[in-house]
Assembly symmetry: C2
Homo-oligomer: 713 residues x 2
């Protein structure tokens, strides 16, 4: 067991790496005073949101910790320890979000400044920012889980009986991570979309000023939203998946017999794979470098695929050295090579789902083109086409998932399914670095616009952003695939902990659970969309109010719309400069923050309380039905909504860039473009709020069930 | 067993009743020559579609019958008999659609004519038309099932062993009914929406002429669509549910032991309940009568609720006289009163789901009002609100369904679930009469418009149509609820026939089946929506072509749009009259027919082949997972799509009638109205094509599995 300190050591290395890279980012040039000022506003807004969010969540965390303690009061000293795990998990998740966002808001305008001179430097800054996020997430995950495991296994011992207690207590860590993740995703998703819709609808459509224009009072809130939604939200999301897949496979590993006896190595292996993933991710970050004039896409691919290849090799050696050649789970014999195959199946499945995602949502693909065509006959046909594409896009990923489940189970039983999820998530460090790089480049572009830098800067940041699309799609595929597999692993772990042998669909209690569970993602999505609608409405009113009540803004808007900028005289220019400082960005930031915090509570509580209610009132088997239902429709609705939203978005972008359909060139400003904007607006809450939240919903409900498993067994 | 002839006798009475009422309809006045001409065009178009559809389906029926025969070749003489049942079921379903539609197309213009003098007479004609449909459906169902059961039970015997063969062979009847129903619903749904969208988009929006205008080449096709979609499609749908719930409960009845031995009465009871439902329905039709100046809504309610009350009493006495006081199913003891309670639970659940449907889709309710409000900020927010309402509307129906499943099972086991479905469907005769009355009144209004009758006629038919809304919503609730319960009953029957004890979700094969099954309704919906899109596109092009290429139409359109009708001189009027005969309605009817037939094939084959493929390749348990998945998401997607579509529709209607929101009066022609039209157009394929098709999909897949059960057991 002493080598467990290697695991904790890897976690510490990740944190040191993050610290080193943060220091490097801090040293980069922030650019002009105006850029500094904008960057500071965004950073302040983002921190204000996080503070407000964490204030509410800390009450929630304390309340749940107390409840957990009471509920487990009969179970020796595990009551206080499960609360401890929960609190540590919640803090680690919050910290990961905080660190990631802190450095992202710093990297934003430093990327902008770098883009003033070269694409390569800008890529370097943006990716470094992302890598801090990535390594913080895996570092905190491994540190927390490894540390708690060392402490608990010393405390309880790790014989076959006590390891079950250790693993139950440690699952509180996963619960803490999941709860924070859900609120972060939902709250961040509401924030970012409310600000986005408000900025677009009043600024772009009603007042006729371009995106990210400094006169628009909602621009800062919009950019803050990108940080809290896309960066902090995603970080918490992947932290949860990562931790969930490790915990799920540890629990399942404990149910394995090798040569007739319990073998702790099956429980330890997931921790070591995660630890090795940290080293591989760090190596991967060094592979991402591009020389001036080089291809940034190639650089990212090198990092992503290169590290995947090393990861496979690392997993192979770890399995060979940790596991006995054969073992028995659930009465069936498997081999250690089977575990390896299961892991590789997980990796391939994630890749496959990612490529399909790219096919259904990428610029120029046939499904997106079909939406472009249907935009010619107006918004209604655009919407129908988008909904159709989203629904259709569920087919192949689900087939891949089903095949993956069967394959992984064939090779290594339930443990294999958990290892497949872990295989997808092992190099989360670099994955997340690539993912977080996207919103950083996006924000850098926004700052370039607001600071009125030359157009070439915006072009460079746009190019950076576009380069990340394929890798982002693959990342999305991994997120969805791993969410499904992690949920299944946790589900299997739940069964092991409750000691139920089967969850029989022909039992009407299970069928009823299946129906109600299947319904929850629909209810949850409708809540999320309603919340975005209400929050956006409040934002729209505030922006309208400012344009109406602040005379300087009104005058500057009239000037912009009525007089070409080249014809401005000195008075005009002075008036315009004067107006630039007058928009009350802070008010908009405040409105987004308050709406998001208020609106995230109800869906969050629904997710957490429903498995508890069903489990205690109807028992473990009905709860099993509920989990299966929520997992199946949750995955389906997540794919449907994310891909429909992505496809609408790119259909709009294709039209904005100009596309030939039936001999007609569609362009910005055409009726088809207006139709495509409607689709994009409908898709926004789909792809950025309700869709990704469902990924967390399914894992959170599984982990809640896992934690309460001993109580309802 | 001789009293089984009472069952067949009740079926015969239903057919005689239908014949009598048809003769009565035939005797009513058809109105002016123009009305006759229009009525004939619609009737011809509808028959042309049915002919074309049945031509394709007859090939399908023969092919499947042959396949069924071959597949069962090893099983004595049941091979030929299962094919026989299948063919009889298919013919009975087709005949029910044919008879219902034939009399509906006759009742259409006779209702219009009646509405020229009074509301009461018009109600009488429309309802009589509907009652022919209703009684034909139940009559053919009971005749077919009763007749085949007498024949097969004489042939095989009805001891505990042979009854299983009898019931397997008879399930072919249900398969025949389901297959035809799916094609009828999908084909009819595509037809009606293609014609509707084509007529609206080019006629109303581009050419600026009112709905149902005789100059619009697509109006006849539009009215034909209402008949083939809403009348024939609905008839086939309910025929399928009705037959499925009877067969499902018969199979489950055969697995019951009373006092330790098999008791045939559990198998016979469903047939007798169905037969008594015919008599109750006929009594119910006599309760629907309204005196001049009376309230038509009250008349319909009397028929619907009065017959439900009698039905409950009839079921009570049948159960008391057929069933022993106690019995055992699946090792658990139940009482005959338990069966009665289960049936009543089914009825109450159906009613509850209906009332919720009304709440989410009715004019003036808060969810619909929320869509109206969100129309103020444009089509995007209208769409988001509608999707949100549709998703949210799944929550309570699913809770009711889950409670119903648990309650019915608590009182009478799996047999109780089947009886709950049968309880909802026992008085299908009168239910369907009330349902079919709606589209007949709707069509009568269309004819009034096309024949240019005074506005008061249209007002009367509109009132008739509106009156049916609540009863229609309740009918929809029964359709969805009974589809879910019937699917579950067939699912349980499938398990009985395959002799599998449990379908364990923790078995990854079952979980994979659950995922793939859950995905099918998404894929199926996307296919249906794509088909409507393509068919509508063809229709739009044809209508545009006619407006462009037929000079008389073009001139008349210009006249209509440029000169007030009161200012027309004689030349104008002559030219207009001349143009009226020039629109090539037949071409549009043909295009709709061909597109619908072509497009219905792929989704239909997907539905039928997927359970066969999964069953033979992966076995019965995986197939069980597939069925559970398709049932859960099928019900959810059906509720979501139907209610979203209904809510969008009524939000548009509320704006058209004028509604005050935030101190502003929204009206026809306003921007909010345009936004609501977008929502309504998106909702059309949702509520009339993909939504209702899913009801059939879930039953069809269950019945396919039931039929192949002995082969994969």
């Amino acid at each position: 067991m002493n080598n467990l300190f290697l695991v904790v050591g890897a976690g510490a290395i990740a944190m040191l790496f993050s610290f080193w890279k943060t220091t490097w980012i801090n040293k980069q040039n922030e650019g002009t005073n105006r850029m500094k000022q904008i960057g500071a506003s965004i950073a302040d807004g983002a921190m204000a949101f996080l503070k407000a969010e964490y204030r509410v969540l800390s009450i929630f965390v304390i309340a749940v910790a107390v409840l957990l303690g009471f509920a487990n009061a009969g179970r020796q000293d595990s009551s206080i320890l499960i609360s401890l795990s929960f609190i540590v998990g919640a803090i680690a998740s919050a910290l990961a979000g905080f660190l990631g966002m802190k450095v992202a808001t710093k990297a934003n305008n430093r990327t902008t400044h770098a883009a003033r001179t070269s694409l390569a430097t800008a890529l370097n800054v943006a990716f470094t920012g992302g890598s801090v996020m990535g390594l913080s997430v895996v570092g905190l995950g491994v540190l927390g889980l490894g540390g708690l495991f060392i402490y608990y296994s010393n405390h309880f011992g790790y014989d076959p009986i006590n390891i079950k207690i250790v693993l139950n207590v440690i699952s509180g860590f996963s619960l803490g991570a999941s709860s924070i993740a859900l609120f972060a995703r939902v709250g961040g998703g509401i924030y970012t979309k409310a600000a986005d819709v408000g900025a677009d609808l009043v600024g772009k459509v009603e007042a006729g000023i371009p995106e990210d224009h400094p006169l628009n009072p909602a621009t800062i809130a919009d950019n803050v939203g990108d940080n809290v939604g896309d960066v902090a939200g995603m970080g918490a999301d992947l932290f949860e998946s990562y931790v969930g897949s490790i915990v799920g496979s540890m629990v399942l590993g404990a149910s394995i017999l090798a040569a007739g006896v319990f073998n702790i190595n099956f429980v330890l292996l997931p921790l070591f794979i995660a630890a090795s993933g940290i080293i591989v991710s760090i190596i991967g970050t060094f592979m991402v470098s591009v020389k001036e004039g080089g291809d940034p896409q190639k650089a990212l691919n090198q990092g992503e695929f290169g590290s995947s290849a090393i990861m496979i090799a690392a997993i192979y050696f770890l399995i060979q050295s940790f596991l006995p050649d054969t073992f028995v789970q659930g009465g069936v014999a498997f081999t250690s090579m089977g575990v390896f195959y299961a892991t590789v199946i997980g990796l391939i499945a994630g890749l496959g789902i990612g490529l399909i995602t790219e096919h259904y949502t990428g610029t120029g693909t046939s499904p997106v083109l079909s939406i472009v065509k249907q935009s010619l006959t107006g918004p209604a046909t655009n919407i129908i086409a988008g909904l159709g594409v989203g629904m259709q896009s569920t087919a192949v990923p689900i087939m891949i998932l089903a095949a993956g489940i069967m394959g992984a189970h064939h090779f290594a039983g339930l443990y294999g399914i958990a290892m497949a999820a872990l295989g997808m998530l092992a190099n989360t460090g670099i994955q997340l670095a690539v993912d977080a790089y996207g919103p950083i480049s996006d924000n850098a572009g926004g700052i370039a616009e607001m600071a009125e830098l030359p157009a070439e800067v915006r072009e460079r940041t746009d190019k950076l952003d576009a380069v990340g699309n394929t890798t982002a799609a693959i990342g999305k595929g991994f997120a969805i695939g791993s969410a499904a597999l992690t949920a299944l692993a946790l589900f299997a772990a739940f069964m092991v902990q409750t000691d139920i042998d089967s969850i029989d669909i022909s039992n009407p209690m299970v069928m009823a659970g299946l129906f109600v569970g299947g319904m929850l993602p629909f209810l949850f999505s409708s809540m999320a969309m309603g919340a975005v609608g209400r929050a956006a409405m409040a934002m729209i009113e505030e922006v309208r109010r400012q344009f109406r009540d602040i005379p300087e803004l009104k005058k500057a808007l009239d000037l912009l719309n009525l007089k070409d900028e080249n014809d401005w005289d000195e008075d005009d220019r002075a008036m315009y400069e004067d107006a630039l400082g007058k928009a009350e960005h802070g008010k908009c930031v405040e409105i987004s923050t308050q709406s998001a915090i208020k609106e995230m509570v109800l869906p969050g509580l629904l997710a957490i309380s429903s498995p508890v209610f069903v489990g205690f009132v109807f028992g473990a088997e009905t709860l099993g039905g509920l989990l299966a239902g929520v997992t199946v429709t949750g995955v389906l609705m997540a794919i449907f909504q994310s891909n429909a939203g992505g496809a609408w978005d790119n259909a709009k972008k294709m039209i904005e860039e100009g596309v030939d359909v039936n001999g007609e060139t569609l362009q910005k400003g055409s009726d088809a473009h207006k139709a495509s904007v409607v689709g994009d607006t409908v898709g926004d809450p789909f792809k950025d709020t309700s869709g990704p939240s469902l990924n967390i919903l399914i894992k959170l409900m599984s982990v809640v069930s896992l934690v309460i498993a001993p109580l309802i067994a």
